[in-house]
């Protein structure tokens, strides 16, 4: 794929759809950000140095409103956080010439690592094969900072850090958030997380108390339930359609909330995955998001926006035999093709957005980032300082070298455009296989617009044993039959937001992210065989293809 020119964002990247005059800020261009960076005090590149990300923002925010304060929903645990007194003593280190016998920080001479290198693709030659052939080796030295060769090195990255992560990478992340989301309030801040699962764990401990009910998509990422349930949190699933959560249904739930019947105070928190939702694959349209935000304003709901799949948005599916549309011709076109985030609509500072590098760079790095109002990011930072600490410095150093020093913002957008193309191909493979191998009498599906998942609905009423056997039993039988046929798909009931409620639907989740293309096709063929066998449907084979 020929890459768009690395610097070609020619317009204002605010695609939020909300018109807030921003006359003070010039258009922000992707790699040009580097040229606009303010001069940074060198002390903030040091070991466990404190960062204030406000200095890394390119625009002026003075004319924008301030975030609401959230004291009324912040937990006792979170309100009582004082942070780490030892890390706070770091403030004295600013005194010139001071000798610190303070922090128990080991000397970097005892890190048995002298050099760290990795091979990464150059912009535009992103495939595994191209990387092997034309990739470049990027090296971090041990004392590059002291030698003025780089602002980040082994001596710094391999030592202790702040709970928000190293300033070096946090700057890039703040710039990225501003470029993509341009939040419409003043006091937004970023911190790194050690991944969004941990971010969610910390967010629930910050914003709930035992017994609370949290609103969510009716089918939701099971691990989030398993994160929250031991804290005494239950979820109330909001009905969904092909565009995800229905704001009117949420409004109804909230308006008619009966504390006694529900056994919980009225919800103050919504957990949602707006883009390529897991497990349904649904993507909320801009209109849907605006409507959702407005219901949240009406009932003063705080939003946890969990967005691992945000950059895996795809062009519409136009059928098995039509060509994949060309990639966006420019960064601007790419950014304009993305449905605006809830964060980008968030005039009140009522969104905590969790971003992840897991689906777009590497899950094993355990680096994510969180954007919210300063009040909440400060609490997050204080909690991280005494629990998870910062993400691995080894991961951070490698990501910094790749994202800041090698690709830049423009090159990263090109990488995302490449990934989008790859996931589009994968989605089209699974849809073509569904068209070919699944019995339409029983299975129905919609093409996802983002993410990794194909959501497959089964008409359980057509099962020969229905209604003697119920939905869950039929689900289990199809699941087991699919395993026998050699295909693993996930059971929809594993994703119920609220397992106690009645669900008159039966779904399976199939991912197109992991397997090689031909294995995706074969997996769907096997699943189709299992469904047909389980539902007693005949099949006809013709020229090697299955017909119905």
């Amino acid at each position: 794929m020929a890459p768009p020119s690395a610097i070609d964002v020619t317009g204002e990247t605010d695609t939020s759809g909300i018109t807030i005059p921003d006359p003070l800020s010039a258009p922000v261009k992707s790699n040009e950000i580097f040229g606009r960076r303010r001069k940074a005090d060198k002390s903030q590149w040091g070991v466990a140095a404190h960062a204030d990300t406000i200095n890394f923002r390119q625009r002026s925010y003075d004319h924008k409103p301030k975030a609401k304060q959230w004291d009324h929903i912040i937990s006792k645990e979170a309100l009582s956080r004082t942070g780490s007194s030892i890390k706070q003593a770091a403030k004295y280190l600013a005194q010139p010439g001071l000798i610190s016998l303070g922090g128990g920080i080991p000397s970097s001479e005892y890190f048995p690592f002298e050099e760290l290198s990795f091979k990464a693709p150059v912009v535009g030659k992103f495939s595994e094969q191209e990387t092997k052939e034309t990739g470049v080796t990027i090296t971090a030295g041990k004392h590059d900072l002291a030698k003025d060769k780089s602002i980040f090195d082994i001596a710094t990255a391999f030592n202790y850090g702040q709970g928000s992560g190293a300033t070096q990478l946090l700057r890039w992340i703040t710039e990225h958030v501003e470029l993509i989301h341009n939040p419409p309030y003043q006091d937004w801040r970023c911190t790194m997380s050690v991944g969004s699962s941990s971010g969610m764990d910390m967010a629930f401990r910050m914003l709930t108390r035992p017994g609370d009910v949290v609103l969510s998509d009716e089918y939701m990422f099971a691990a989030t339930i398993q994160t929250a349930a031991p804290m005494g949190i239950r979820f109330a699933g909001v009905p969904m359609d092909n565009e995800g959560l229905l704001p009117s249904a949420m409004d109804h739930i909230l308006t008619t909330w009966d504390v006694n019947a529900r056994g919980a105070r009225k919800p103050h928190l919504l957990y949602t995955v707006p883009t390529g939702q897991n497990p349904t694959g649904a993507t909320q349209s801009l209109a849907r998001r605006k409507e959702l935000y407005s219901v949240c304003q009406k009932h003063d709901i705080f939003i946890l926006e969990d967005e691992p799949y945000y950059f895996l948005q795809m062009p519409p599916y136009t059928g098995a035999d039509t060509a994949v549309p060309p990639p966006p011709a420019s960064h601007t076109e790419f950014l304009q093709s993305l449905v605006p985030s809830l964060l980008s609509l968030d005039m009140d500072g009522r969104v905590m957005r969790l971003d992840s590098f897991s689906k777009v760079l590497a899950p094993g790095a355990r680096i994510g980032f969180v954007t919210a109002s300063q009040q909440l990011i400060d609490i997050y930072h204080k909690h991280a300082d005494v629990s998870t600490q910062n993400p691995s410095g080894l991961s951070q150093l490698i990501f910094f070298k790749l994202l800041d020093e090698h690709w830049g913002h423009g090159g990263y957008l090109d990488w995302l455009i490449y990934l989008r193309g790859q996931y589009t191909l994968r989605r089209n493979v699974i849809l073509k296989a569904c068209d070919r191998y699944l019995p339409r009498d029983v299975v129905s599906w919609k093409p996802p617009m983002a993410g990794m998942f194909q959501w497959l609905q089964i008409d359980f009423r057509k099962h020969p044993d229905y209604p003697e056997k119920g939905v869950e039993e039929i689900e289990e039988r199809v699941f087991e039959r699919a395993i026998q046929c050699g295909a693993l798909v996930m059971r929809g009931s594993w994703f119920y937001a609220c397992a106690e409620e009645e669900h008159g639907t039966l779904f399976f989740r199939a991912t197109f992210a992991a397997a090689p293309f031909e294995r995706i096709e074969e997996g769907i063929r096997r699943f189709g065989k299992a469904v047909r066998e389980e539902f007693g449907l005949g099949r006809r084979e013709e020229n090697g293809y299955l017909k119905y």
Copy 2:
């Protein structure tokens, strides 16, 4: 330093001092462990594969007792953990030929990393300068596992993992724990943590409920208080002497515990740092540890053994002008020189030991490990799966390459012997500086036997403003005066286990871990100047040296 031969552990390494006949197990020798490894099923090296560390132990444990069950102290939150249903679906992947459209795990072809290399010292040439000159470059490829070049690679390590960490490194850790601690009960297990701060956070959530009082050393690591306090936990400090916590004092506290007066149920948990305690530098002797364990048995106390400094044990200090004793002549001698851990005395399975690589390899890697009974490790794993997940796979891959494939167990012990020598030199530098620059009229100290900290007691009664000014005010004045003189040391009051109690003592903590040797000396000189100024003591300068 010439290294001891890499394979020379000739005897049984059980230095626990407890005689449990172990006729079934042959002596375990450091690097020979590799030759004794059982053949491992290749599937456990795969992406997010499940490990059962029992297979990685060299000895037989059949004749040892089983750990006690801890249901009566495990929190409601922890008891309700079900783990991640999605990760549990991984069990189906064992079926040959199965195509998984299950887990939303990205394909490694979309990790933009082709190769990862680092330069590390060869065994015996460990200094930074030697590493630069003779270090070797170690490389991990992307698909080494598929090519049978290694059992760990980028494709695996950079993907999702189990909460316990990757099997590859977990095997090495389990072997290491057996080699060093040889726990005297059957069902001990290991898991990785994302560092001991996180381990402590998870342990408190597992083993306490709001309102609990936890026993601890009278002065303790401040961050642990800051981890626990927001959960509603307070600490009851147990008086200490130069060998740390006094078991008789703990027995007295427990025996006379008054629920009403204390406002809390009788403690069931002890948090302690037995070796090179932070901040006091105290190291519990073997006799002290046995006595402590026995008081814990008497009152059924569970022990959190936090041991970041365990391998920084040093020979006794013999004065400023005597030579440093030679390093241990063999691995056996080194292992025998270590005070046995509480884990190695733990017949009941009442110890959760937290180990850290932060002080011996690199804090930035954010890898620690936890050893406890299977019951508790299973809960830990389930919690990690839905919060922190595994430590960074990038960190794990680098540590695996270094510890398993490059150094082996023997080489790692050699590294630890090298570090011990370095910290001994550093400790001697600070002690010599204390001898030279601190006014003995007012400051007193004991040489630490382990760790990173010199604990300095100030006789506040000699302060000219005492008793008009109290202990804390005098502490603050000395602290501020030291900053003015250009030295940062930590205030003892920052480490009170219980700040509300009266403390008739005044301490400062100085670390010898971080600064270059000559800066340590200068830092202590400045601190001495501050104390003298603050206490109105004269000084006499002679040949550039300060005399009293």
